[in-house]
Symmetry: C2
C-alpha cells in the first residue's frame, strides 16, 4: 500500500531567476524591460467583456494581428503562454526522432529540461572560446536543432548566412531559432521562412514589449508546422490564451512608435554600459540583447553577485561549467545602470 | 530531403465546443455561466501594475487565497491555466505506470486525448444503463483512476462513500476526482484529502465562478503530490499564470455572497427546466451540474441540434457510441431556457 509514488514522473525542474517580492530594489536578473508597456494595455483592459465565456481557442484576433504585423498569413502563426509554452509544445511536437537533438552547451537552460521532461535524446555542442556557435557542429545526423539568436546568456548574435548554412545542411529535421532577444539589434530569420519549410522562428512579448507579466509568445513557420503545433496544443489545453492576453497582445502591436522608442533606449543604454564596464576591467562578447554577460579580470563573479544582492541589486549568476565566473546583467534604465556601476566601483575599490 | 514530417507527433486533437464569433445568439453548448463574474474582476483589473515583470512563478497570492478559502495549507494547492492545464499536467506527472489508467466510457472527452498525447495506456469502463459509474469496475489492477464528479456530459453525481470505496481499493495509484461542476449541488471530495494521500481533487473557475475567459483551474492534494505537479510545471513553463489571472483569481474568492447567489440561481433554473423538459417528452438522469443531458422519446437528438443551430441556439451534440441520441444543454438564464423551450415546442409541433 502507498506505492503511488512509484509512478510519479521524476524531473529536475528549471530554476527560474529569483522574483523577490519586495519592490524597492534594482532587478537586473531576469531580462525584463525597465520601461512600462504601451498605454494600449490599460486602454484595452477597460474594454474587455465576456469574462464568463471561453476565449476563442484559436486566439484568432491575436494570431491575425501578429500575422499582419510580420507580413505572414494567419495560418503561419502559433501563439502560446510565453515563448516557454511555445517552445515546450514545439519540443513535444517536432522532436520525436531516435536521433539526438542538438543545441549549444551554453544556452537557454530550459532546453535540456524540456528534453528530459519529454524523454527526447539530446547532445550539446560546445561554443568556441568567444562563445560562438560553430556551424560544423550542426552538420552531424540529428533529430532537430534549436538555438537562441542572440544566444542566451551570452548575448552573441549570428547572421542570416550562418542560419541558412545550418538550414541547408538540415532539411530533414525541424530547426528552431529562438528569437527572444532579436529586437535589441539583431536581424530576424523570418525572411528565411519563404525558402525553408522546416524553419520555426519563435518570439516573445516578455522582453522588447515589456509584457512578461501577460505571458505571450509565438512561433512563425510554414502552415504545416503551425497546424501540427495547434493539433498538439488542442490535445493539451484548448484554451491556453486568456481574454486579456488575446486582447492586449493584439492591441499593443499598433503602438509601433513606443516599441521602437523603448527598444532604442535600451540599445543606447547597453552601448554606453559596455564602455563603462570595459573601463572597470570587465570583458564580454558583443551583446545584441538586453543583457550583458561579463567576467572580471580579477574579481570573482560569485562574490560580485552576492555583494550586489546584499545591496538589493539582483543580477544572474549560473553555477555551471565554463560560465561560473560570469554574470548576466539585464540592461535597465540609465539610472539603474549607474547605480549598478556605483556599486561595482565601490566593491572593486574595497577589494 | 524534406523528411522532417517523419518526426512530427501525430495526434487526434480534442474538439472544443463551437465558439461562434457572433454575439446575438443563445449559447448553451460549452457549460459557461450565464451570469457575469464578481464585480471584483473590474476593480482588480484597474489595480494591476508590474506588467513588465514576470509573474510570481509560484502564483503565491492565488495559491494562498485558494488554500485559505478551502481550509488547506498553501503547499496543498496547485494552480494552472484552466482545469485542462491542471489535468494535462496531472496525467503527465502521475500516470507513468505500464498498467492502464481507468475512466468511464462516457466522460469528459479530453481524458483519452491526453492519454494518447502522453502515450499512457488506458481502459474505459462502461457506465450502467442509467449512466452510473460501477465501483467494482475500478477494483482491477490499474495505473491510476480519473472521473469527473458530477460526471460529464451526464451530470450524474456520486457520493463520498462511493469515492471512499474506490480510494480504499486503490491506494497504490493516484485517484483524480475532477470537480469542474461540483458547485451546482454536489459535495466535494475535499474532506477525504485528510485520509487519502493519493487523492487529487481538481476544480475550476470556468463554470461556477463565471471566469472561463480568465483560465484558472486548481488541484488540491497532499503536499507531496502538489510538489510533484509543480516540479513538472516548472519543467514545462515556469510562468503559466499571468498577472491578471493571479490578481483576479485571488480577489473574486472574497465575493462569496455573489458566488452563492449565482450558483443558486442556476440550480433553481435547472430544477424548473427539468420539469419543463419532462413534460415535453425528454428523459434524463438527475443532473447536479450546470447542464442537462437529455434524450427524447421520438425526436432525434441530431435533428434537434441542427434545427436549434439554424435558430442561433447552440447546444452540444456528441456523435459517439451510446450517446449519439443525446443533447447536452447548458443551464443559462431563465429567459434563455424559455427561448430554448419555445424552440423545442415549435420543433416538436412541426414533426
Amino acid at each position: 500500500m502507498g506505492n503511488w509514488r512509484d509512478n510519479i514522473r521524476q524531473v529536475v525542474p528549471y530554476t527560474p531567476g529569483e522574483q523577490p517580492k519586495r519592490t524597492n530594489l534594482i532587478k537586473l536578473n531576469t531580462n525584463e524591460n525597465p520601461y512600462p508597456p504601451s498605454k494600449k494595455v490599460q486602454e484595452t483592459m477597460d474594454q474587455i467583456t465576456g469574462w464568463r465565456l471561453y476565449p476563442d481557442p484559436a486566439a484568432s484576433k491575436l494570431v491575425h494581428a501578429l500575422a499582419e504585423y510580420h507580413g505572414l498569413n494567419d495560418d503561419q502563426v502559433f501563439v502560446g503562454v510565453g515563448s516557454d509554452d511555445v517552445l515546450a509544445m514545439s519540443f513535444m511536437t517536432f522532436f520525436n526522432s531516435d536521433k539526438p537533438i542538438l543545441f549549444p552547451d551554453i544556452t537557454y537552460s530550459f532546453y535540456d529540461v524540456w528534453a528530459d521532461l519529454f524523454k527526447i535524446p539530446y547532445k550539446t555542442k560546445a561554443l568556441d572560446e568567444h562563445f560562438n556557435i560553430k556551424s560544423e557542429d550542426y552538420k552531424a545526423p540529428n533529430g532537430g536543432i534549436i538555438f537562441p539568436n542572440p544566444n542566451a546568456p551570452t548575448g552573441v548574435l549570428v547572421d542570416l548566412d550562418f542560419i541558412e548554412d545550418i538550414l541547408k545542411a538540415n532539411q530533414d529535421v525541424i530547426v528552431i531559432v529562438d528569437e527572444a532577444y532579436i529586437d535589441f539589434g539583431g536581424v530576424s530569420a523570418k525572411p528565411l521562412l519563404k525558402k525553408y519549410e522546416n524553419l520555426l522562428v519563435v518570439q516573445t512579448y516578455s522582453k522588447s514589449r515589456s509584457l512578461a507579466g501577460l505571458r505571450i509568445g509565438y512561433a512563425m513557420g510554414n502552415s504545416e508546422l503551425i497546424k501540427a503545433l495547434n493539433d498538439v496544443k488542442y490535445s493539451f489545453n484548448s484554451y491556453t490564451m486568456n481574454q486579456p492576453a488575446i486582447a492586449i497582445g493584439a492591441a499593443v502591436l499598433e503602438d509601433e512608435e513606443y516599441f521602437r522608442e523603448t527598444t532604442e533606449k535600451i540599445i543606447h543604454t547597453r552601448e554606453w554600459f559596455k564602455n563603462e564596464m570595459s573601463e572597470l576591467g570587465f570583458s564580454f562578447e558583443d551583446s545584441k540583447s538586453n543583457f550583458l554577460f561579463v567576467t572580471h579580470k580579477s574579481a570573482k563573479a560569485k562574490d560580485i553577485f552576492e555583494a550586489a544582492k546584499e545591496k538589493d541589486i539582483f543580477v544572474r549568476y549560473f553555477d555551471k561549467p565554463r560560465i561560473d565566473n560570469y554574470l548576466r546583467i539585464t540592461i535597465g534604465t540609465d539610472e539603474e545602470m549607474k547605480q549598478f556601476l556605483n556599486f561595482v566601483r565601490a566593491f572593486l575599490g574595497e577589494e
